[in-house]
């Protein structure tokens, strides 16, 4: 019902993309690119942000990006040479724009940046004497009011359409309901002042519905007061800060009017009083409440937007008549038509970009689900065909094979639609590091590797939070101050590496720093004091490190304004684990610390090897499988404490019998050993009875129905309709190590 809110969301999404492009181009320029096209692209990005912000009434954002755009324009026009441009400043400004956008979207207050604005205005200052576009417009107090109105189009639309659908005669919408019309009528002048609570929109009350309940013919003027709108940093876009003054000339009593309004507004949200100066309001209604400076800014924007000189000239040369029209909508309309012309300018640039379509993730999810069902149906068909007599089978098999291939292709393509490089998340990190380095007074170099590693969209979204946390942690606790580093004989500048890669069917992201490492004594002491570890329990150094993920540790001392934020590493771990991922830490005192985050590439399908063990079948993700061989031809040794090992390519590799670990039903008769890789890159042998085949399986969550099943990450439905567990090698190893499994003999007895 509210297309405006939807539009706004789309705008914010676009802002994210534009900000990404802006930062990328500025970075390239900073690193020495001399390509004017990079400058143009950066300029276009900020220009588009400003344009959208104007339409949605984000005045602060408009103001900042306007100045930003102006200084980039100096580069574009060649007034400032690319080599001389302060790209570090520009990068900080793009951060500030991101803040403003975030502030407009969320409820987070953004910091005002007068320093940056001042610095921006310095860019190309000496050349400023020439005729910059804003100057003449600023000097012209008669700038068309409609131009100013662009600054708050949203409010104008709201206020303008206020009483429009009120009644059949359509009162004051089309014809200006000037004071003239009401003069002769009986009644008296009243003023209704509506000052709604900020939650007005959340109550789904549209001002026009409220205003529409007034008799349309009695309305003399409506004025929308925007003076209460807080600065953008502190503005929640779902808050309503508009105040409405309605001048009425009516025969209705105050009580009657009260009754018309109080159906949706609380008694404290409006007041009705006799008007002191009726005509005054009618006049002011023609002039939207936008500060002159903004008007000037905006006329400058419009001037720059390009070829709409006829409309503008006309308005500018006849300011008086335009201003006299007592109808904000009418005054605004010629101008409102001009912005859409802007894209025409950019057209040539856009055509070179690949065409893309924005699709709801939900639709792709539906498609994905359907493909999943097809995969199951297809493997069912394969099963059916096997039992057919040979001559029929031969004919059908070809078709089935083609179907299999096409299904797989279909699946790959759908997956590809959802896949995105982790760049989307990595891109945000340089900024985080930049800002943190400044706050913490540390010198940091961030190295990104494997940015093009692709991963499912759903996973991408889940990456940002843990990554931010890991980096914050490394910067705050890991890295030392430059002086401390110098003392320790390290370079003053610390290095944080962010590396993404595919391993064992997962995306593994490592955050490595060369700082001081985890202070084990302190960590252990704290864990003891909080009762997380008994006083007499002795822990291996690695075990102490893992305490960093323990719940309840990330409080007090550990929380600084940088890495605190109320969410501890334990929450990060929980979130990661709920996605079927894992997070771990390796620390070397004095040398640094490495956080490793492993997540599945997708939550939807996986390529699996179907194996049998006893009466049960399991699926091992094919990405974990390195090699398979006959068990009989593999020399097996038994270590003193009972662990079996085999020698594989010269490496001693532990061997586990799947039937024992998972407690499979039926007699097991292991013939095959599968060499699999764990997330940490170790190898492990898994003895199974038989390899049934290889196929794509659709992942069905176990946790939703059963809770966590040790050793398995999920389940799937095989072609014959039976369920098989999808093994999670790492979790299976933990299960084997814990010894907490159902012994097979017990099961047999029970059976």
């Amino acid at each position: 019902m509210d297309p405006l809110a939807e539009l706004k969301q789309t705008f914010f999404q676009e802002c994210d993309e534009l900000l990404g492009a802006l930062e990328q181009k500025l970075q390239a320029l900073d690193e020495g690119s001399n390509d004017p096209e990079d400058v143009n692209a950066a300029f276009r990005a900020i220009h588009s942000i400003k344009g959208g912000a104007g339409a949605f009434g984000c005045t602060e954002l408009v103001a900042f990006s306007h100045v930003f755009e102006a200084s980039l324009d100096h580069l574009r026009s060649g007034r400032v040479a690319i080599e001389d441009a302060p790209f570090t400043l520009f990068l900080r400004c793009s951060d500030a724009v991101a803040d403003l956008v975030a502030a407009a979207r969320n409820d987070e207050p953004a910091v005002e940046r007068p320093d940056l604005l001042a610095a921006l205005e310095q860019v190309g200052q000496d050349l400023q004497a020439e005729p910059p576009a804003p100057a003449p417009a600023a000097a012209n107090p008669d700038a068309p009011p409609g131009v100013a109105a662009l600054g708050n189009l949203l409010a104008m639309v709201e206020a303008g359409s206020g009483a429009a659908p009120a009644s059949a005669d359509d009162g004051w919408d089309d014809e200006p309901a000037g004071p003239v019309a009401t003069e002769a009528r009986p009644g008296r002048a009243l003023r209704l002042r509506i000052a709604p609570e900020a939650d007005l929109f959340r109550r789904v009350i549209e001002p026009r519905v409220v205003l529409g309940s007034l008799p349309a013919e009695d309305i003399v003027a409506i004025r929308c007061d925007l003076s209460q709108v807080p600065p953008l940093e502190s503005l929640d876009v779902t808050d309503c800060w508009m105040r409405f003054d309605v001048d009425l000339h009516t025969e209705l009593s105050v009580e009657e009017l009260h009754g018309r309004i109080d159906f949706s507004l609380g008694g404290e949200e409006f007041e009705i009083a006799p008007a002191e100066d009726g005509p005054d309001l009618a006049e002011t209604a023609a002039e939207p409440e936008v500060p002159n400076s903004v008007a000037a800014d905006l006329s400058a924007i419009l001037a720059k937007l390009g070829p709409a000189p006829e409309a503008l000239d006309e308005a500018a040369s006849q300011p008086a008549p335009v201003a006299a029209v007592p109808e904000p909508v009418a005054a605004a309309s010629p101008v409102l038509r001009t912005p859409p012309r802007a894209p025409v300018n950019d057209q040539s640039a856009r055509q070179r970009q690949p065409v893309s379509v924005r699709v709801d993730l939900e639709r792709i999810d539906k498609l994905m689900n359907l493909v999943g069902e097809i995969v199951i149906t297809q493997s069912m068909l394969v099963e059916c065909v096997r039992s057919l007599p040979y001559d029929v089978y031969a004919k059908t098999a070809e078709g089935i094979l083609t179907l299999s291939r096409q299904t797989r292709e279909l699946q790959d393509h759908v997956m590809a639609v959802r896949a995105q490089p982790v760049k989307a998340v990595f891109q945000r990190m340089p900024r985080l590091v930049r800002e943190l380095a400044q706050t913490l007074g540390k010198e940091v170099r961030l190295v990104l590797e494997g940015e093009n590693t692709e991963v499912d969209k759903t996973i991408i979204e889940e990456l940002a939070d843990p990554l931010t946390h890991m980096i914050r942690n490394s910067m705050d606790h890991g890295l030392e101050t430059p002086d401390e580093r110098a003392e320790a004989g390290k370079p003053r500048e610390g290095t944080i590496r962010l590396i993404a890669e595919h391993r064992a069917g997962r995306i593994v992201i490592a955050v490595t720093d060369d700082g001081r490492g985890i202070n084990r004594e302190k960590l252990l002491a704290k864990a003891r004091s909080r009762g997380l570890v008994d006083d007499d329990t002795r822990l291996a150094p690695e075990e102490i490190d893992q305490l960093i993920f323990a719940a309840g540790l990330s409080t007090a001392e550990q929380v600084s304004d940088v890495s605190g934020r109320g969410v501890g590493m334990d929450v990060v771990r929980r979130n990661v684990e709920s996605l079927g991922g894992r997070i771990s830490v390796d620390s070397e005192p004095g040398r640094g610390c490495k956080f490793t985050l492993a997540l599945p590439l997708t939550l939807a399908v996986l390529e699996g090897m179907v194996i049998r063990c006893g009466n049960d079948r399991y699926v091992i993700p094919i990405a974990s499988v390195i090699e398979t061989q006959h068990l009989a031809s593999t020399p097996i040794e038994r270590l003193p404490f009972g662990q079996e090992v085999l020698r594989w390519r010269g490496e001693v590799t532990p061997l586990y019998r799947l039937g024992d670990v998972m407690g499979s039903m039926g007699t097991t008769d292991e013939n095959i050993v599968i060499i699999a890789e764990t997330e940490r890159g170790n190898n492990v042998g898994i003895a199974v009875d038989e390899i049934v085949g290889q196929q794509q399986v659709v992942v069905k969550s176990l946790e939703a129905n059963y809770g966590t099943v040790n050793g398995a990450s999920a389940a799937t439905i095989l072609g014959d309709g039976l369920v098989a567990l999808i093994l999670d090698i790492d979790s299976m190893l933990r299960l084997a190590a814990s010894g907490d499994r159902v012994p097979q003999s017990d099961l047999k007895m029970a059976g």
């Binding site: 659908p165 959340r202 789904v204 009350i205 109080d262 949706s264 008694g267």
Partner: protein
């Protein structure tokens, strides 16, 4: 317009939906807030008219629940009730009610209000 009407008094509910249907609206009915919520999800109404005092889940709770789901944040909710106290009205507003109408309702007034939500 698609309207979800919620009232535990069957006759009133029928009268309400009849009034609305005669005015050309598509109506779904529910007899308490809980049923209302599930109807809300299925029917995806453009507007909700709900009673206040109902068994199982009352109108305030319904409104709150509705506002807390993403699909319910932009749907106007009109409370139609015999209650007219300032306090309960304020509570309704805090829960997210868009408008308040006191029973017994005058069909034309109700339809007038509904019509104003129609784009």
């Amino acid at each position: 317009m698609k309207i979800l009407a919620i009232d535990d008094t069957k006759t009133l509910l029928s009268l309400l939906s009849l009034t609305l249907r005669n005015a050309g609206h598509e109506v779904a009915e529910a007899e308490n807030g809980e049923e209302g919520l599930s109807k809300f999800d299925q029917f995806k109404p453009d507007l909700v008219i709900t009673d206040l005092n109902m068994p199982i889940m009352d109108g305030i709770e319904f409104t709150r629940a509705c506002r807390s789901r993403p699909t319910g944040q932009n749907t106007p909710i009109i409370v139609l009730t015999t209650e007219n106290g300032a306090e309960i009205k304020a509570e309704g507003r805090r829960a997210g009610a868009s408008a308040w109408m006191v029973k017994p309702f005058e069909p034309n007034m109700l339809l007038g209000l509904v019509a104003r939500y129609q784009n």
